[in-house]
């Protein structure tokens, strides 16, 4: 058998350029498959990790998907607000550990403005219970302080100390600006891959302050309150959009949810973020199905390409196999030779493909994060990825055997009196 390895090695070395192409083609197939599959899984992962560590989201009574959309994804607007006294009543509930009120509605150059309390930076978690981190500066302390998400800072080139003005309502073109009360950026958050990156955070009282002279969504004519004087007013908010709630004991989650939905003073609802995220994913998951289909097509095409490359390179070897058969190699010898080479070439190709994929994710993930907001992580291959890798190896290996059997049928007579 050692002698057979020596022959296999010399033969392979003799065909090293063709073999290198085969290995490269297998490596590219592997890279493509792993890449698409990784993007698919991470997309879902990114989505479902938009909020974590929050037990309930409370808002005015509406659809659970709608509440999730505006409170977490800043999409759409609330039809009704939650009164401040309801938030206070909720905070006083014995099962509740913390409440982070959220107030939405303003924007800054297309990015949503979220008014909240400093507790937000402590309690809001994303991903695998990761807390928000400051890339630069600190959470807001003064009245007109703002903390911007990473994407806001990167797109607009903001650093600590930047003066910004907010606009009423959302959208790029806003006529009514709160230009009289400029904010100062005091902090920039580190990237999270969630909607937080695209948010400008201010204090609840600041939100109240910039709307002091406003009524019914428009500035009151003739009323001007300069920024220096706003502190004289009562800046306690009258209402908020929604609230994130953490419980002392997660087991109480349904009891608190029921308490909220039967709250007598105004119609409220509480949703479990995980359940609502799954529901929402069910709606937009059609996108995932499209990616899954793409994965399958990519797999099919790369496997077919792999088989054809291996077959083509083996067709080239027909003469050589014929000679081997003619000088006494049995079918067993020929198959062993092909199987050995096929296995080594496929394994080498898949390994190089994995290295490509790892390097690709490591090198491209900052760019993907900033361009597409997609956070790719290096981690152990998932079950799906193992299956894909295994099918690549098996397909490549089987492909290398099939022509061997064909060669066996043709080659003996061929080798004795070859027809060229």
């Amino acid at each position: 058998m050692i002698a057979l390895f020596a022959i296999a090695w010399r033969s392979a070395w003799n065909r090293r350029f063709t073999l290198a192409l085969t290995v490269l083609s297998i490596a590219l197939s592997t890279f493509l498959l792993l890449g698409v599959e990784r993007i698919r899984t991470e997309l879902r992962e990114n989505f479902s990790s938009s909020v974590s560590g929050t037990d309930l989201i409370v808002g005015a009574r509406t659809g659970s998907t709608q509440l999730l959309l505006y409170s977490v994804f800043r999409i759409g607007a609330a039809t009704n607000n939650v009164q401040w006294k309801s938030v206070q009543a909720l905070s006083a509930h014995p099962g509740v550990d913390w409440v982070v009120p959220l107030s939405l509605g303003d924007s800054h150059r297309g990015f949503s403005v979220l008014a909240t309390t400093p507790a937000y930076f402590e309690h809001f978690h994303y991903g695998n219970r990761q807390a928000l981190r400051m890339r630069e500066g600190k959470p807001f302390g003064e009245l007109l302080d703002a903390v911007v998400g990473a994407e806001v800072a990167d797109k607009l080139g903001y650093h600590v100390g930047q003066k910004i003005t907010l606009a009423h309502g959302s959208g790029e073109l806003n006529v009514s600006e709160h230009a009289d009360k400029p904010f100062t950026v005091v902090g920039v958050l580190a990237r999270t891959g969630t909607p937080v990156d695209r948010t400008v955070h201010i204090g609840l009282s600041a939100m109240e302050a910039i709307h002091l002279e406003w009524m019914g969504g428009a500035p009151m004519p003739g009323v001007k309150i300069p920024a220096e004087q706003v502190r004289k007013f009562d800046l306690t908010p009258k209402n908020v959009t929604a609230a994130l709630v953490g419980l002392k004991n997660r087991a109480a989650v349904f009891a608190v949810q029921r308490w909220v939905s039967t709250y007598a003073d105004e119609p409220l609802m509480a949703i479990l973020p995980g359940v609502a995220l799954d529901e929402l994913w069910g709606v937009i998951g059609i996108g995932e199905n499209a990616l899954l289909l793409m994965s399958a097509l990519v797999a099919l095409v790369s496997l077919a390409g792999l088989v054809s490359v291996v077959m083509a390179s083996l067709n080239e070897r027909r003469r050589e196999l014929a000679v081997l058969r003619a000088v006494g190699a049995s079918l067993r010898h020929v198959l062993a030779l092909l199987a050995l080479e096929g296995a080594l070439v496929t394994l080498l190709g898949v390994t190089i493909g994995i290295v490509f994929a790892v390097l690709g994710i490591a090198l491209l993930s900052p760019w993907l994060q900033s361009q597409f907001g997609l956070a790719l992580h290096l981690s152990e291959p998932t079950l799906n990825e193992w299956t894909l890798l295994a099918s690549l190896v098996v397909a490549g290996w089987v492909a290398s055997l099939l022509p061997g059997i064909r060669a066996y049928r043709l080659s003996l007579a061929d080798g004795l009196s070859p027809r060229i």
């Binding site: 022959i7 003619a326 006494g328 049995s330 080798g415 009196s417």
Partner: protein
């Protein structure tokens, strides 16, 4: 004299052909004999060689190699038996281009334990291969050279050494001189015939070239013994 190869009432037709291409009553090859098998193109020479070597199996009649009927063996067993007892010199030499001269000669020993054992009876298989190459007039400085770098004449002599290594009972040569010029042809025949004598191998030498017939002890004109000799493709 013991019989090495024996054919009896042999009939063979190519699939799809209505008339047989081989129809031979009897052909015996004895040990150590040098047989010149000749005839014009299309008289079935290559087909007969394939039948003798067990590559093709006869439709009727039997061919025995050292008393064993080819037809009674499975495909894998025929492969084993062929490499163990038959040295074959091909028209196209059939060297593996990426192996050295020496490794090409040793190929049958790699695939057959019997050839290996017989090659290393008086030393090592490598020593015997080197001795055969030397007998073929190939200088030791060439032995490690890859087959693809050899001239046609050198390749043919390597192919002959390969057929002879491990002393097979019979050497079958299929028009091995057709690619050689006259001087080289004579030199090649010299070494092949003397090597077969030294190794006590029977030789079946196929050619349509009458000029070399006198070098052989026995002549077989195929159209004379093949009753089916007609216009079938060779």
């Amino acid at each position: 004299m013991t019989l090495v190869l024996s054919a009896e009432s042999l009939r063979f037709a190519w699939p799809g052909a209505r008339t047989p291409c081989i129809d031979i009553e009897r052909l015996d090859i004895s040990a150590g004999e040098a047989v010149f098998l000749h005839g014009p193109s299309g008289c079935g020479k290559s087909t007969l060689l394939s039948l003798l070597a067990g590559v093709l199996v006869a439709d009727a009649g039997r061919i025995t190699l050292l008393g064993h009927d080819w037809a009674a063996l499975s495909g894998a067993a025929r492969d084993r038996s062929r490499v163990a007892h038959v040295g074959y010199i091909f028209q196209q030499f059939n060297l593996l281009p990426y192996l050295s001269m020496l490794d090409n000669v040793l190929l049958p020993c790699r695939f057959s334990a019997r050839r290996m054992e017989r090659a290393s009876r008086d030393g090592t298989a490598r020593a015997q291969a080197e001795e055969l190459l030397a007998q073929m007039g190939l200088d030791a400085s060439l032995w490690q050279r890859q087959a693809m770098q050899l001239s046609v004449g050198q390749q043919q002599r390597v192919a002959a050494a390969r057929a002879l290594v491990g002393h097979p009972e019979i050497v079958i040569a299929d028009e091995p001189t057709s690619a050689l010029d006259e001087d080289r042809r004579e030199a090649f025949l010299d070494v092949l015939l003397s090597a077969c004598r030294t190794n006590h191998s029977a030789l079946v030498f196929v050619s349509h070239d009458q000029r070399i017939a006198e070098r052989f002890s026995r002549h077989v004109l195929l159209p004379e013994i093949n009753r089916a000799a007609s216009g079938e493709p060779a």
